[in-house]
């Protein structure tokens, strides 16, 4: 009986050591992940705070302006413009001192379920509702377009790099360069005029035919939405795909000069295996990082494309909110955008150790 606790003590100590030994290889990765998550939260807080301060430093008091101008011109049936403006300031929480507004903002976001109060631009719809109403369109159009652009661009870029000595690739590189430097709105407008107005092949704008009632269970409605999405997505894919392909081609060319590729060739591996397992994989890492950042930025919407294709996205909402200093919506969009960019960067950072063993083994 006496020996049991001793045995147990010895046993736990051994178990602990064994556990430590087992965990040892994962410690650098765990440290890396914790550090990245810590940086993530600090960056989110910093970005949101800065955005809050900058927005409130913007000169102008559009609430007063909107109402007083309407009073002056007797439009909008407004009487007592200044009093009405004050009433709306109270309603929107703009009558509080700035630090109080900031604390309320943080509280409402963190424990209030992203409750940013009423919007001004879509009054009386709440800011949360108006942002989440627009967000699926932005993600559906531009995030998916960016993913497609990345997949196509990266694949083509890898092939262009691999086949760099074939003359025909220089033509492809020329085309990609031309697309890369062409503003996306030029391509979009040209596509609309040609495919929309002249050939009548595709709709010229809107997310779906205005006469339709949204019904995501109806295949005809989904097909209609997809038809409307072709031109906006194709515009992004052409321009960003070209950009990704040029980036990937450069990365491939730099990787192709490495000694380990000569070694792989000397080992007798097939060119396809060398491309797939050695060159492409090593060149892919910076492309993945670029994708993370690009995807995050699409939350802001490709503003000009939203305007051209009359897409009800978050970018257009932000522009309208800016015009009338709708702080609630502006802060909501910036918060969402910041979190999206940083979260995607975090995901990419967290994926990197699994894609690259060098990061996994590193202490930093």
């Amino acid at each position: 009986m006496d020996s049991f606790p001793l045995r147990q003590k010895r046993s736990s100590s051994q178990n602990l050591s064994a556990l430590q030994a087992r965990l040892q290889p994962y410690l650098p990765t765990a440290k890396y992940i914790l550090k990245r998550i810590g940086i993530y939260f600090l960056t989110v807080l910093g970005a949101v705070t800065l955005a809050f301060i900058f927005f409130h430093l913007m000169p102008g008091d559009p609430l007063s302006i909107v109402f007083s101008q309407l009073e002056k011109t007797n439009l909008g049936r407004v009487t007592g413009g200044a009093e009405v403006a004050e009433a709306y300031k109270r309603l929107l929480g703009l009558d509080q001192p700035l630090p109080v507004q900031y604390l309320l903002f943080l509280r409402n976001v963190l424990i209030g379920g992203f409750d940013l109060g009423p919007s001004f631009v879509a009054f009386p719809t709440s800011t949360r509702d108006v942002i989440f109403r627009q967000l699926p369109w932005t993600i559906g159009y531009f995030t998916s377009a960016m993913l497609i652009a990345w997949l196509i661009g990266t694949t083509i870029g890898a092939l262009l790099g691999w086949l760099r000595r074939i003359g025909l690739t220089s033509v492809a590189v020329g085309i990609a360069t031309l697309l890369n430097i062409t503003p996306v709105y030029i391509i979009a407008i040209a596509a609309i005029i040609f495919f929309g107005y002249h050939l009548h092949w595709l709709p010229t704008g809107q997310p779906y035919d205005p006469g339709l009632t949204p019904n995501w269970g109806d295949i005809e409605f989904i097909k209609n939405v997809l038809r409307h999405a072709i031109m906006p997505i194709a515009s992004v894919v052409l321009v960003w795909g070209a950009s990704f392909s040029l980036g990937m081609r450069s990365l491939m060319i730099s990787v192709l000069g490495e000694d380990y590729l000569s070694y792989a060739k000397a080992k007798g591996l097939t060119p396809f295996m060398i491309l797939r397992d050695y060159a492409f994989r090593n060149a892919l890492l910076p492309q993945v990082t670029a994708l993370g950042i690009a995807l995050g930025n699409t939350i802001n919407g490709v503003l000009i494309l939203e305007a051209i294709f009359v897409v009800p996205g978050v970018g257009g909402l932000f522009v309208r909110a800016m015009a009338i200093h709708d702080f609630n919506v502006m802060q909501g969009v910036v918060l969402l955008s910041t979190v999206a960019v940083l979260t995607l960067s975090l995901i990419v950072d967290l994926l990197l150790p699994f894609l690259d063993p060098r990061i996994r083994r590193s202490n930093d």
């Binding site: 102008g60 002056k72 107005y197 009359v310």
Partner: protein
């Protein structure tokens, strides 16, 4: 750890994803059934001729002659689902507020002004269009002798679009409801602060006016009809117990001639259908459907107008006349005078702009005709602060003032002379004040995309002319929000503005000069602009006009004195009238008139409906 098989499997997902994505896109592209997405051209039986059957019976031989049943068919485009294009008026605009599920006037200017709700959904007491009041939910008004009471005669046969009658109870409920919620900034919320009402029978409301500081003291209010004209009663059975700022009123229960079919936030499109049970039987309402939708960017809107996709839109006149009209002969321009002629305002609290001579000289440096032509080739120099058609003759203006004070005159040489006479001498090429300080002023304007090229053109032209006589003028273009903020707080020297006087009663051209709106520089006036002007004599004139009856010819003299005050002291000076005109598509609806103001963002839209007829009978 990844195994080799896993690696292969992972890498195979990439081409698989590309294949699936491409297949989806191709699949969605495949069945193109219609020439365009918006307009589907299909055959639709519109009208059938009567069946004509003729039989001749002849004895013995029995010859029978029979005419076949003939059915005439007419090809009609269907738009927005299944609306016949020839019965659908399509309005394209730019929605300012993104509100598509709330139909309420309670949030005033935050209402979406382009959904059609204000244009065809609601019904007002009166429609003021083309200088006339047309009766709708009210028939007429009568003031008592001293203007301290007004009797409003209500329309008794009006109905809400849910079939219930509009009664005097709805009116009184609305008056009380709005007053009870005045803290929420609802329209007409403060009206009962200075007005009492009582009812007489089921069709009369008598309003009496009193002094806010002394409720027992009756005061005249001869302009009450102007504000009550735009009063929109609420359906008591719908609104009772509702929070005015949260209630969505969806679907809208209103007394207007069109009923909402659908309103979509994704496509920013609202469809309205003419009420079969509309109570005002003599109203001309040609379109069976009216669609309000969001217009695309100008380049694409041009294409839409060439294709006849919209009947009315906000394309600017230059693009409409040069790019659209040559390609679509159905398009014509609808034009009307600028309701708010543009003015140059001075911050009269800042020296030396407090000197009328400086303001006079500034006025003489404005080449109004040239500046106006930047926006409109037919522009004329501005003279009056209310809309007018070329001839500035008005009962409210003494023609001698126009001549004596160089109203609308461009004469840089005289400007130099005026400055010389006032002691602003030219020293080393620079014009200086009595303290030797060079004359230098800024002119604040904003983004030209908001109000057109002339807005930023005139300061540049003034700067060029001013430089020739030794005065520095600095054009200062700022963001719109900054512009209004500076305007309210007096952070400007001179600025672009607009003044919206009414030709029949131009009080709004002067009321903002009253010292009740005066605030020191840096303090917001709450009334849009800060002129730093205080003058008891002007206050008295404004108060006399405010309390007077605009229909009384004697008031014209007071108005003349006010015009004299403004022109003789150059309190503000005219610039030009901005071009007001939009392209109209006559293919489906015609009869639109110039000067009608097809203001499709407000109730004035109804004035336009009075004129249009279907083109295709």
């Amino acid at each position: 750890m990844f195994t080799k098989t896993n690696k292969r499997r992972n890498i195979r997902t990439v081409p698989l994803f590309i294949f699936v994505s491409a297949s989806l896109l191709l699949a969605s592209c495949a069945p193109v059934a219609a020439p365009t997405a918006v307009e589907k051209e299909v055959t639709r039986v519109v009208k059938e001729t009567q069946v004509v059957k003729e039989t001749q019976v002849v004895k013995e031989t029995q010859v029978v002659k029979e005419t076949q049943v003939v059915t005439q068919t007419q090809i009609v485009k269907l738009v927005y689902g299944n609306l016949p294009r020839n019965e659908t008026l399509i309005i394209a605009g730019t929605a300012s507020n993104d509100v598509w599920d709330t139909f309420s006037m309670m949030s005033g200017p935050l209402t979406n002004a382009y959904s059609g709700y204000q244009q065809v959904g609601i019904e007002q007491a009166f429609l003021f269009a083309g200088g006339k009041y047309y009766p709708y939910l009210a028939q007429k008004w009568e003031y008592n002798k001293d203007g301290t009471e007004m009797t409003l005669y209500l329309t008794t046969n009006a109905t809400w679009n849910d079939g219930k009658p509009v009664t005097i109870d709805d009116w009184t409920f609305t008056l009380d409801y709005l007053h009870a919620n005045k803290d929420k900034g609802v329209p007409f919320g403060t009206m009962l602060d200075t007005t009492k009402y009582r009812t007489d029978g089921t069709d009369k409301i008598i309003f009496s006016f009193f002094d806010a500081k002394d409720p027992k003291k009756a005061v005249p209010n001869w302009r009450f009809h102007q504000s009550i004209a735009s009063f929109v009663p609420l359906a008591k059975h719908v609104w009772e117990g509702q929070d005015p700022l949260k209630f969505k009123n969806n679907p809208p229960v209103e007394a207007g001639p069109y009923k909402l079919v659908s309103c979509n936030a994704d496509t920013k499109t609202c469809i309205w259908q003419r009420r079969d049970d509309y109570w005002k039987k003599d109203e001309k309402l040609s379109p069976k459907y009216i669609v309000f939708t969001r217009q695309p960017e100008p380049d694409l809107l041009t294409q839409d107008l060439i294709s006849g996709n919209f009947d009315l839109s906000q394309l600017n006149a230059k693009l409409a006349t040069t790019a659209v009209m040559p390609k679509n002969p159905n398009i014509s321009m609808v034009e009307w005078p600028d309701p708010c002629p543009r003015q140059l305002m001075f911050n009269m609290e800042k020296a030396p702009l407090n000197d009328p001579a400086i303001r006079h000289a500034m006025s003489l440096l404005i080449d109004r005709e040239r500046a106006g032509k930047l926006d409109n080739p037919a522009a004329k120099p501005g003279v009056l602060p209310w809309p007018y058609q070329g001839d500035p003759t008005s009962p409210f203006v003494d023609p001698a003032d126009l001549k004596n004070y160089d109203v609308g005159v461009f004469d840089p040489a005289k400007a130099a002379q005026v400055l010389d006479d006032a002691g602003y001498k030219l020293v080393d090429g620079k014009r200086v004040d009595q303290n030797g300080k060079p004359l230098s002023f800024s002119i604040m304007t904003f983004d030209p995309s908001v109000h057109g090229a002339a807005v930023n053109g005139f300061p540049q032209m003034m700067a060029e002319e001013a430089a020739k006589i030794g005065v520095e003028i600095l054009p200062k273009v700022v963001e719109v929000g900054v512009f209004f903020d500076n305007a309210q707080k007096g952070n400007f020297d001179m600025m672009y503005q607009w003044v919206c006087g009414a030709p029949q009663d131009p009080l709004a051209a002067y009321s903002f000069l009253h010292s009740r709106y005066y605030k020191p520089i840096g303090t917001a006036t709450g009334f849009g602009q800060h002129l730093g002007y205080k003058d008891p004599a002007t206050d008295a004139l404004i108060e006399k006009v405010e309390q007077g009856n605009p229909a009384d010819p004697a008031l014209a003299d007071t108005y003349k004195q006010l015009f004299h005050t403004v022109t003789s002291q150059w309190l503000y000076v005219p610039l030009f009238s901005l071009y007001q005109g939009f392209p109209w598509n006559n293919e489906y609806f015609t009869g639109i008139k110039n000067q009608v103001e097809p203001w499709y963002w407000m109730y004035q839209f109804r004035g336009m409906l009075m004129y249009i007829d279907p083109t295709q009978k």
